[in-house]
């Protein structure tokens, strides 16, 4: 009985395998091209496997992109940490200490995560110029922190909403203050939510292009802007571009492979339902 059910379902693997190929093709072409030697590079043979294994392309791509990869690292770590910390505090207050108007404030903050940034770009550039942060990584970090607040607040608020109110009431009766409850009760159990939010902010800031391209100067370009520029130039060959693409994708891919479960949860909270 069970065997026949299994057999009947085996054909379902065909469409799944077809889709697997579809999703893997770009990854395949990045790595396949990346590991060929310069001598083997030819658009005519782009689908053939390398005859000999070489890391020339990756070395060349890294030489061209290294400063920008490091800019991305320097940008993403503070951006993710600060916006997560703010989101955690906001989420705590909005979920557990409803003050008058909290129900209005929340959707007002949420709207900020959907806006097309083209609608704030001109004021943002003027503002950064006036406070002397235009062109710098600092300005870009500040931008990511502020526009990250809506989603980090949403995720933490939904997470804290699942924590029973009795727990907090009991602590209050024992004389804990509002910050005491946060430090001793909520913070220790917030680690899963922090992982979700940190991953989400890390990925969003690492992959951002629009803010970076208008706010930073050449020396401070993060990896996305540098890679796009490399791809637009006639001088750097496509094989190096492929290797560069892989280098640019590697950090977020690694995070996805190692912490995929949390990544998925972050995605789902982006769909509003926690």
């Amino acid at each position: 009985m069970r065997a026949t059910v299994m057999q009947r379902k085996n054909w379902l693997y065909l469409p799944l395998l077809a889709m697997t190929i579809f999703y893997l093709i770009p990854l395949f072409i990045m790595l396949n091209t990346g590991f060929k030697s310069f001598a083997e590079i030819d658009l005519k043979t782009m689908w053939q496997l390398p005859r000999e294994f070489s890391t020339d392309n990756f070395a060349a791509a890294y030489r061209a992109l290294a400063p920008h990869l490091w800019n991305s690292v320097k940008l993403v770590i503070p951006a993710a940490l600060i916006s997560s910390a703010l989101g955690s505090l906001n989420g705590y207050v909005l979920a557990k200490w409803k003050f008058p108007g909290a129900d209005i404030i929340f959707p007002v903050i949420l709207f900020g995560m959907f806006i097309p940034y083209q609608s704030i770009l001109i004021p943002l550039v003027s503002f950064m110029d006036q406070i002397g942060l235009y062109g710098s990584l600092g300005g870009l970090i500040l931008t990511h922190v502020i526009y990250g607040i809506p989603i980090t607040t949403l995720t933490f608020r939904n997470y804290y909403a699942t924590i029973p109110g009795e727990l907090i009431e009991a602590a209050k009766i024992d004389g804990a203050t509002m910050l005491g409850v946060y430090r001793h009760i909520l913070l220790p159990i917030s680690i899963p939510a922090f992982v979700v939010v940190l991953i989400w902010q890390f990925t969003a800031a690492w992959n951002d292009f629009l803010f970076a391209v208008v706010l930073t100067n050449n020396a401070n370009w993060p990896i996305t802007v540098a890679l796009n520029n490399m791809a637009g130039s006639q001088i750097i060959a496509w094989n190096v571009q492929m290797a560069g693409s892989f280098l640019a994708a590697l950090p977020t891919l690694l995070v996805y492979v190692l912490l995929g479960r949390y990544f998925l949860r972050g995605l789902m909270s982006g769909a509003l339902k926690g």
Partner: protein, 295 residues
């Protein structure tokens, strides 16, 4: 007494964030509106009142017409493609097959990558060169004997935008699948059992029970994918640079503002983009936060 001071502490804790969002989102939107109503072109700010002139100019601007047409083509194909592939994969993965987690994680990995990386790779996959310089997918089709599929991708006159939807679907269809899979998992097995007892076949179960129950998911997916598609920018820049046949409002805004210094016009495009996104998103936010308070 203590309660009162704690209330102030609450507000004190959240107010930096709230004030920042109020300024950087709402304040800046108002500032953009003001720029869009000005004559500002050139490097020096010029807030001389222009009324709705920038908006009128846009509606008479052939380039903006191309942008709207391109956005409609892209949105239809991208959203449609993601929904169809998403629900198809979700149903497949809901059949209790072995290796489900593996497939699910694999279909989702493009979400971790930037549109720029996706665009750079697909630019070579969708290489439009024909004849002796053929490569990418066209070369693959050629060697598989599928010559009829060979095409000029994003350089096809008038319809190049359709090709850009392909990498976008590649990137976001796995996410749509995850949304639907979550929805399918929330439907109790007892409902299907009851229908089977009543003699319904699998097809009827899907059309009469499961698809109607998935409607809220479809709505969420439509809104999330729809607002991404109105904002599409990096992907096109990475695939094709700034070419007029593949122009969209976000690229026009960027170019006219920061390359051309037409700040008034750029702000007007930004505000029109905001309005189109708000029409989708505001009812959605109201709906989700309201059902939440009712629960």
């Amino acid at each position: 007494m203590r309660l009162k001071s704690e209330k102030w502490l609450n507000i004190l804790l959240v107010s930096p964030s709230i004030i920042a969002v109020l300024i950087f989102v709402y304040g800046f939107i108002l500032w953009s509106v003001r720029v869009s109503l000005s004559q500002w072109k050139g490097l020096m700010p010029d807030y001389t009142w222009a009324g709705l002139q920038n908006y009128r100019d846009l509606f008479n601007d052939p380039r903006f017409h191309i942008d709207i047409r391109n956005t409609i083509i892209f949105t239809t194909l991208f959203v449609g493609g993601c929904l169809v592939i998403g629900i198809f994969l979700a149903i497949l993965l809901d059949q209790g097959l072995r290796g489900e987690t593996f497939f699910r994680n694999l279909f989702l990995f493009p979400m971790a990558i930037s549109f720029i990386v996706t665009g750079v790779v697909w630019r070579w996959l969708m290489n439009p060169a024909l004849g002796g310089r053929i490569s990418g997918f066209n070369l693959l089709f050629d060697s598989l004997g599928l010559d009829f599929l060979i095409n000029r991708w994003y350089t096809v006159p008038n319809w190049g935008m359709a090709a850009i939807a392909l990498p976008a679907i590649w990137q976001m269809s796995g996410y749509t699948m995850a949304l639907y899979l979550g929805g399918l998992r929330a439907i109790p097995e007892s409902l299907r059992e009851a229908a089977r007892m009543d003699g319904a076949n699998e097809w009827q179960i899907y059309t009469n029970i499961i698809f109607p129950l998935l409607r809220p998911i479809t709505l969420s997916a439509l809104i999330i994918l729809g607002h991404i598609s109105l904002k599409v920018f990096d992907l096109i820049v990475a695939v094709a640079g700034k070419q007029l046949p593949l122009d969209v409002p976000a690229i026009y805004m960027w170019q006219t503002t920061f390359d051309g210094n037409f700040y008034g016009r750029g702000a007007a495009i930004g505000i029109l983009l905001l309005l189109s996104v708000a029409i989708l998103v505001v009812p959605y936010i109201r709906y989700t936060t309201r059902t939440e308070t009712e629960q």
